[in-house]
């Protein structure tokens, strides 16, 4: 009888274990998934430029650090340094002003150089979200992992002024997103669009009302004055970069 009990216990135990292993209805969507971001540090370097600029184009070099607490959530810092280039529209305006009779009469022999500003440096604290992640297949061949990221944050900006506008330090808001493509488990190639919103002094076609003081006034000759007022400008930038993830070892989910 004792042996009968022992045998029965063994068999019932084995049956229970079989039932636990066999169930797939509550299994995760992907088993043994590579945790490419969770509990990893991301160091990245990027290069890009702002798009659709009115007066000044900014060429940006960006270094960033991010720690990913979860697969879909991370926090970090980014620092960007910019070089400023005059846009074609600015050149056209300056040419038009220089060639106008009013300007020539008031400022003979002087080339017009309209006041403008650009982003010299940015320091942004940000949170990064990764709502979508998966694999890529090209012509039936597996290419690598990819994820879609969304970033948002805020910080400081150093705005460089030209032709009369002074340099200033102000706040910045950053929102954007992009794709990270992982050719290896510790390296990604990033394509990103970030909108760096920074208050800047820009010209406005509205006369200065009584009692109002514009941030800056530019004389275009013939008594014409162009007031500059502070506005939150949008500077969408397209950036290409690479990231290294540490540690190099990657864990897998169940």
């Amino acid at each position: 009888m004792k042996r009968f009990g022992v045998v029965m216990l063994l068999i019932l135990g084995a049956g229970g274990a079989t039932a636990k292993v066999g169930g797939v209805s509550e299994a995760p969507a992907v088993r043994h998934q590579l945790e490419l971001r969770k509990s990893r540090h991301e160091l990245s370097l990027g290069l890009g430029m702002t798009l659709n600029d009115a007066y000044t184009r900014n060429v940006l070099i960006r270094a960033a650090y991010q720690y990913h607490f979860l697969s879909w959530l991370g926090v970090g810092l980014e620092a960007a340094f910019g070089a400023q280039v005059k846009t074609a529209l600015t050149s056209a305006i300056e040419s038009g002003v220089t060639n106008s009779p009013e300007y020539n009469q008031e400022f003979p022999g002087k080339k017009a150089a309209i006041p403008r500003s650009g982003i010299q440096a940015l320091l942004i604290a940000k949170a990064g979200f990764v709502p979508l992640s998966g694999k890529l297949v090209l012509f039936g061949k597996y290419l690598g992992y990819v994820d879609l990221m969304v970033n948002a944050g805020g910080g400081m900006a150093l705005v460089k002024g030209f032709n009369g506008l002074s340099n200033r330090t102000t706040y910045a808001v950053a929102v954007g997103g992009g794709l990270r493509f992982y050719p290896t488990r510790y390296l990604s190639v990033n394509l990103e669009v970030m909108d760096y919103m920074v208050p800047q002094y820009t010209p406005q076609n509205r006369k200065i009302s009584a009692g109002e003081s514009a941030g800056y006034v530019y004389a275009v000759g013939g008594g014409g004055l162009v007031p500059y007022r502070e506005r939150l400008t949008q500077n969408p930038a397209f950036l290409v970069g690479v990231s290294v993830f540490l540690p190099f070892q990657v864990e897998r989910t169940y």
Partner: protein, 234 residues
């Protein structure tokens, strides 16, 4: 002590009593356990796909997409557009189609602001575009949405030729290149996001100028026929 031979090896069952009573007990319960395990396995294997079926099928289907368009690279004007695309998927990778966009243009705030300098740049609104295109979809993938899913999607390239009507009545021969994503929402519904560059020569008073009209287009695609049958079962 009883002794049995099994696969040529000598096995020993220690203890008192006859060996056949042990064999009987183990065999009886093993049979019951095996029957229960087999039933459980049948239940779980219903959910296991031995042959994975492709989820996003385009082959020999017509895709109808009402579209909303936003011009991206404008400074002095702003254009929004509504329209539609129809394409036939010849294979899963290749498709041919046609599209129409009706534009609604206006001056931007920047155009008003720069007039403060006493200078003006000639602007011209786009009125409409119609043309044909070929599409190639080399890349397909699936995403997890916060670990749930998967969401099936593909990426394709587009090239086409047509005409853009600008100003009152001028038609400009227009070529376009683009790329976009198609996310499968349901078996016959997709969310399409694409960027295209419509290129044409525009004649201004100061001379001709090459125009790049980069637009973002989004639309909900309907694939007809709505359903399809797989050659092989799951």
């Amino acid at each position: 002590m009883g002794v049995i031979r099994q696969d040529g090896r000598r096995c020993t069952l220690a203890g008192r009593g006859s060996w056949w009573s042990w064999v009987g007990c183990v065999g009886f319960f093993a049979l019951i356990a095996a029957r229960v395990s087999a039933q459980e396995a049948d239940e779980t294997q219903k959910n296991i796909r031995v042959l994975q079926q492709k989820t996003l099928i385009r082959y020999h289907r017509v895709e109808v997409v009402p579209t909303f368009t936003l011009a991206l690279n404008e400074t002095l004007t702003r254009h929004l557009g509504v329209g539609g695309q129809v394409r036939f998927h010849i294979t899963d990778e290749w498709a041919a189609g046609a599209e129409y966009i009706k534009y609604f243009g206006s001056d931007s705030a920047l155009a008003t602001d720069i007039s403060a300098f006493g200078v003006a740049k000639e602007t011209r609104y786009m009125n409409q575009y119609f043309g044909a295109h070929a599409a190639w979809t080399p890349l397909q993938a699936k995403f997890l949405f916060f670990g749930k899913g998967p969401i099936h999607w593909d990426f394709g390239l587009t090239a086409g030729l047509g005409a853009t009507r600008t100003g009152a009545s001028a038609y400009r021969v227009t070529g376009h290149l683009g790329g976009g994503f198609r996310f499968l929402l349901w078996r016959c519904l997709t969310l399409n996001l694409e960027v295209r560059d419509f290129m044409f020569m525009e004649k201004y008073r100061a001379g001709s100028e090459f125009v790049n009209n980069v637009v973002f287009t989004t639309g909900i695609g309907v694939l007809v026929p709505f359903t399809y049958h797989y050659e092989y079962p799951k």
